[in-house]
Symmetry: D2
Subunit: 265 residues, 4 copies
């Protein structure tokens, strides 16, 4: 049996995700927000604390992704493209500023599988962002001052987030957009009776991104709403105010992970 994730199979072609490295390119619409600090703190796993310098600060990101592994997977866009909505919250691990991801949604099963392996707690959702076309005209914003980009996310037929970014100027230091490493909780339960609360995998991990790149980054104003929905807790973050808005392209490769603490019993 060959493969990396399920399903393992004779030829190793059926698995949702092949052995890394996994390469990504994407376009992001992002809005900075300030949640109720207590609500943000309530989402943190053991080992993380709120960042005292920016308690409650977070970023909501909508990304149109394209993925490839070693086989020009981007030529099969029905499988390799997907849309993602995620929230990160400023936190500290052992004094280091990190970004904690409590909620994330994608529209593709392979992305969900890779996410779980990385510790991203992915569910399925429907995610959209306004796109810019270089050909211009009334159907597209320009990537220029005044350009406006909308974004929405829904899950199980319920709208959970809406955002709007209005560009003002290029970002001076684009690399700063990815300066906080993401910390996730890899978690996979046991099903044997009596062990439902003793997960088989439960470890705090830090993402390792190779060759990160940011391009055409613009900053401006942002608007953002998290909407209450049955079976979701995103709106519990209780956004108090909204900060800057961003739009940029990004790329990186995933081939590794750093375990911070293994809580598995």
């Amino acid at each position: 049996m060959q493969g990396y994730t399920v399903p393992l199979s004779p030829r190793g072609q059926a698995n949702l995700a092949p052995t890394p490295p996994w390469h990504y390119a994407g376009t992001a619409v992002a809005v900075e927000f300030f949640a109720d600090p207590a609500a943000a703190e309530a989402t943190l796993p053991q080992g993380l604390t709120l960042d005292p310098d920016s308690a409650g600060r977070g970023v909501a990101m909508f990304v149109d992704w394209q993925y490839s592994a070693g086989g020009e997977e981007y030529l099969d866009p029905a499988r390799s493209q997907y849309r993602e909505f995620l929230v990160t919250l400023d936190a500290r691990w052992n004094g280091t500023p990190v970004a904690w991801c409590p909620y994330i949604y994608v529209d593709n099963d392979a992305a969900l599988a890779r996410g779980w392996v990385q510790g991203f707690p992915k569910k399925l959702g429907s995610v959209h962002q306004t796109r810019a076309y270089p050909v211009g005209g009334p159907a597209t914003p320009a990537v220029a001052a005044g350009g406006r980009f909308g974004a929405t996310a829904s899950t199980a037929g319920q709208r959970i987030a809406e955002a709007l970014v209005t560009l003002e100027q290029p970002v001076d230091n684009p690399a700063a957009l990815m300066n906080r490493p993401v910390v996730n909780l890899r978690h996979f339960p046991r099903l044997a009776k009596g062990q439902h609360d003793q997960p088989a995998v439960h470890e705090l991990v830090m993402a390792v991104l190779d060759n990160p790149a940011v391009g055409e980054a613009w900053v401006g104003t942002g608007e953002l709403s998290f909407l209450p929905a049955r079976g979701e807790e995103l709106a519990d973050l209780s956004v108090q105010r909204v900060g800057k808005g961003f739009r940029f392209h990004l790329a990186y490769t995933v081939d590794d992970l750093k375990t911070l603490t293994d809580y598995t019993l």
Copy 2:
């Protein structure tokens, strides 16, 4: 009751498509093909003949569209973005070279409704094309010689078309990509018994595109397959050979239509 298409409603906000003008911006992956001329001819409506200079020639296009009317609809991308796969065949109307569209698929109901009004015989489908990200890296082709773009279309869970374009050079005369006006058959049946074969609308029409624009157009080699599927006749076109491949951005506005012949009884 207000509105342009159904549903008409008190505030005129619920209709699938508002009164034109309708603005479009899109990115296209296209492959020229040569069908069996007899098969191509069999799809033509009364009033069109095959183009004797290019009998059987057609173009398969996959487009990632964004739409807007007068209200910045592109800020609600869950409604205003859609993906389209269509086929056109070289034809003649009254001596004029035109493009006839026998089959077209979209993934959005508003696009389907606008299409029917224009005479495009739209069905629902799932359509994808490789995307180029300016940030580079292994997950994206470059818009440059050697860049490769895949595209696929499916309907009702069946794959109906697969294409691959490899860029070679910029197109010298991009406007030529849109030089054949599209001719459609607006058709809307009657349901009253005894009138099932007497449609309420049945007219040959020529599309009118305002402010057409083409940008960043590249040409290269193409690969294309039409696959047999239950309830579809696309593969009956029986592609004999494939011509050039293209990738480009396009934009235009729709606010009018020219009736060539009204066959309504």
Copy 3:
């Protein structure tokens, strides 16, 4: 060219809907409601008035449908099954009690096409209802007193309706569930400039149902909410109170239509 709806094609297999008759079988969860009469009246087309005996009364129905024409289409369930959410309002045509359908949503393009031909103003939506399984157990309600059935509808990622029905007893006279004929507005616009407000088809029609059947009909209590959503006007109906809840199976055949008034210019 053969076929009934678009696309017309050489073999007549590609059209969204073939020539009627069209046969239907379905399972419905329905809730009676009382809207603000002025809001209900505002949705009525020319030729209909509110029913003075039940001004504002309506029914919200969620139906899991299966369709067939002459070719055992139900053996291709990926195309022939669909889910529908619709609202009807009590109205009068020329003194006759009728049901007017202002809003309706389906998850299938063939159903949308047939609907437009009938005058149902269908848009795409995502619709679900609780199902009863005869095998029993904690994952299914019983079709019996106390059995509870939920239902939801969403469009463009936004929840627009939620319902709950609790069964109390079998319906004494099931045929009464379909005693008001449905009146629709067949409407198909023109696109030629200057004629955007002069539709090519605009006629008030009454549905004709052959061989209507209702089975296993139960009545009980109902709960219902219409939720505001961008691009929708359903919630404008402003439900004042909710009446009975129903669950039943139904079947009929569509092969005809009666034009009440043709308003086409």
Copy 4:
């Protein structure tokens, strides 16, 4: 943080699957098949061998499921209903006849998550089966001799399986339909560099079903095709001939799992 699967959250409402027990009710269309024994054997994990008494025999099942945990989840059908296509192959574990599931597809993220925890290697797919309505008419088969039920499965826009069952008679001993326990491989990879081939979870497990029930079971003839598709290996099973066809309802509860061998390093 509360919850069973990801995402863990403050209130424990956001997780894809809550702590078991999980209750299921479903309707199945199933076809027995005989694969190339070598191809079937190639899918087996360490610890299983082909059943020498029925080498290559398998069952393809299409199920319309409804799920509930402790909270009447079946009243939220947008989340609790899903459709599934799976294949099982006759195998032996330690001399015991078991059913091994190499491939399985669902259309719901919660079902995918529960499946992974059970060891079912679920991917997303689009699955449909003909439904029987007690109201009768031309749009529904009867659950009676001669009744015909179609079923299809697709993934990533590619059709992978098609089946047809024609009923002949009730099943004498319905419990026999579930007499082989399902054996799965729970598998969850590591991402740390150098450990990509050392999964964090890799254990052969046997499903434990509480309160299994089968109802209204019919047997008859079956037809079945597995179709080749990019990124899938189902068709490699190379069906040599098809056996009986079945249609039945089933229900059970999952609250436990038996580990046969833990291969985790």
